[in-house]
């Protein structure tokens, strides 16, 4: 599974064996910050700073759960 920015599609895409998912803006912004180092709280704080907003916790958490279910992300011990 690989995440990269594709200029031709103006989107982040997830690439995996014989498949591709084009991500919308918020999904791309979240996954691009999931680097295996930062915690979920760090990522939410960073997103809220970047987009000059607050109260993203529920939305971001819900997406991360979905991404885990779809194996777009994996949990580190």
């Amino acid at each position: 599974m690989r995440l990269q920015w594709e200029a031709a599609q103006e989107a982040h895409v997830l690439l995996y064996p014989e498949g591709m998912v084009k991500l919308n803006g918020s999904a791309g912004a979240i996954l691009a910050r999931c680097d295996g180092v930062r915690t979920l709280a760090d990522i939410i704080a960073d997103l809220e700073r970047s987009y000059e907003t607050a109260g993203l916790t529920d939305e971001v958490t819900a997406f991360v759960v979905l991404a885990l279910e779809r194996h777009w992300l994996e949990m580190r011990e």
Partner: protein, 389 residues
């Protein structure tokens, strides 16, 4: 990466690029979709040509890359092709029989940036695998599987199903489990190329298909999510056609060994189109400007019943190659569709498969034709009437 120029006429980029690096193959599979006339095609592109194709297609936005054939490991420049594709940002899938995979090569491919390997098996036992491919390759495939695991690639197996092996699905899934597969694609034969020649021997009966689906369901319930099994239903058994290639010329670009650019790897057979070659045209002009790639875009080419069908934007009238093979006109509705006036051609083939599988032990109506260079020179490209009578 260089940002791509805006596309003319609302046509999107060729997101999927398939390089058929060679038609040479150590196997002789009866269900191969390569063109039966492969021996008559021109010389293979050289390394520099392939690298140029990669660069030009990537600039248009191509990102999923398949390296296939024939057997791509036959090319001794596979490693530099992979290295350049990786540098350009492709996600690289190698589609291989495993024959020719050595530790030296897989280690070099890994270093070059290969992302994924799809390994084919023909059946679950040495006897059937080797019979169906007309080679002694089962052990070599098992060795390739061990190397794939050792080099930490996801184990992705592909097994093409047909009348002669579809009753072995339980054994095939057990083999996949033993090999540590994460993904298994049970892909029913699509009837193009050599498979089309052998259709009368390969098309399963409905009872066989239903048994195989039940076995697959049962396996999924038992194995859970540790092994994902995709069961690709043969479209002859459907009442609506597949959205083949998501419409010709919409997302998929294949380059044949001799440099012919195709909107589907089987499309070389379509008679009225002159497909451009990457030796004389760049990928941008091929994709956006060539008459062959524009011919089946949109809906202007459609005939009834597709032209006025409310489902035409969902399935694009099905597969142009199948329409051509079965009816002689690529602009007809795919006869798999029950709305097609030619649907009886599909049901007749299914009826023939029913009676053939009922006649257990009876000699086959015609011998299987194994993919072979010598036979490729001898066979005439043909469409209807259906093979095997």
């Amino acid at each position: 990466m260089r940002p791509s120029l805006p596309s003319p006429s609302g046509v999107g980029p060729p997101l999927w690029l398939l390089l058929e690096l060679t038609y040479r193959c150590p196997l002789h599979c009866v269900f191969c979709y390569n063109p039966t006339e492969f021996a008559a095609t021109g010389a293979e592109l050289d390394t520099a040509d392939w690298l140029r194709v990669l660069t030009e297609a990537r600039a248009l936005g191509a990102v999923q890359l398949g390296l296939s054939g024939g057997e791509p490991l036959v090319r001794d420049d596979l490693e530099p092709i992979v290295a350049e594709a990786h540098r350009l940002g492709y996600y690289i899938n190698l589609i291989t029989s495993g024959v020719g995979m050595t530790e030296e090569r897989i280690s070099a491919l890994k270093r070059a940036g290969l992302d994924h390997i799809q390994l084919s098996f023909q059946d679950s036992t040495r006897e059937m695998n080797d019979f169906l491919s007309s080679t002694r390759t089962f052990e070599r495939k098992a060795q390739a599987a061990a190397l794939i695991r050792k080099y930490d690639y996801p184990m992705v197996l592909n097994v093409v199903l047909h009348r002669l092996n579809i009753d072995h699905v339980a054994e095939i899934l057990a083999m996949a489990e033993r090999l540590g597969a994460q993904y298994v694609e049970l892909a029913n034969t699509q009837y193009y190329g050599w498979a089309w020649l052998n259709r009368a021997q390969l098309l399963p009966s409905r009872a066989q298909l239903e048994r195989a689906e039940a076995v697959t369901r049962h396996f999924r319930e038992r194995a859970g999510s540790k092994m994902q099994v995709y069961f690709v239903v043969p479209d002859y058994f459907e009442t609506r056609p597949k959205a083949c290639m998501n419409g010709l010329g919409n997302i998929f670009l294949a380059i044949s060994p001799d440099g012919t650019a195709l909107p589907c790897h089987a499309a070389r057979m379509l008679p009225q189109l002159e497909f451009p070659n990457v030796r004389s045209h760049d990928v941008r002009s091929i994709w956006y400007d060539s008459p062959a790639f524009n011919h089946f875009r949109g809906e202007a080419w459609m005939k009834e019943p597709c032209r006025s069908c409310p489902e035409r934007q969902r399935d694009f009238g099905g597969c142009r190659c199948q329409a051509y093979l079965l009816t002689g006109d690529a602009a007809n509705a795919d006869p798999v569709c029950e709305l097609s006036p030619h649907h009886h051609l599909v049901t007749a083939a299914l009826a023939q498969a029913e009676s053939a599988s009922a006649a257990v032990g009876a000699p086959a109506a015609a011998p299987l034709i194994f993919r072979d260079h010598r036979i490729s020179i001898a066979v005439e490209p043909r469409h209807n009437p259906a093979p095997g009578g």
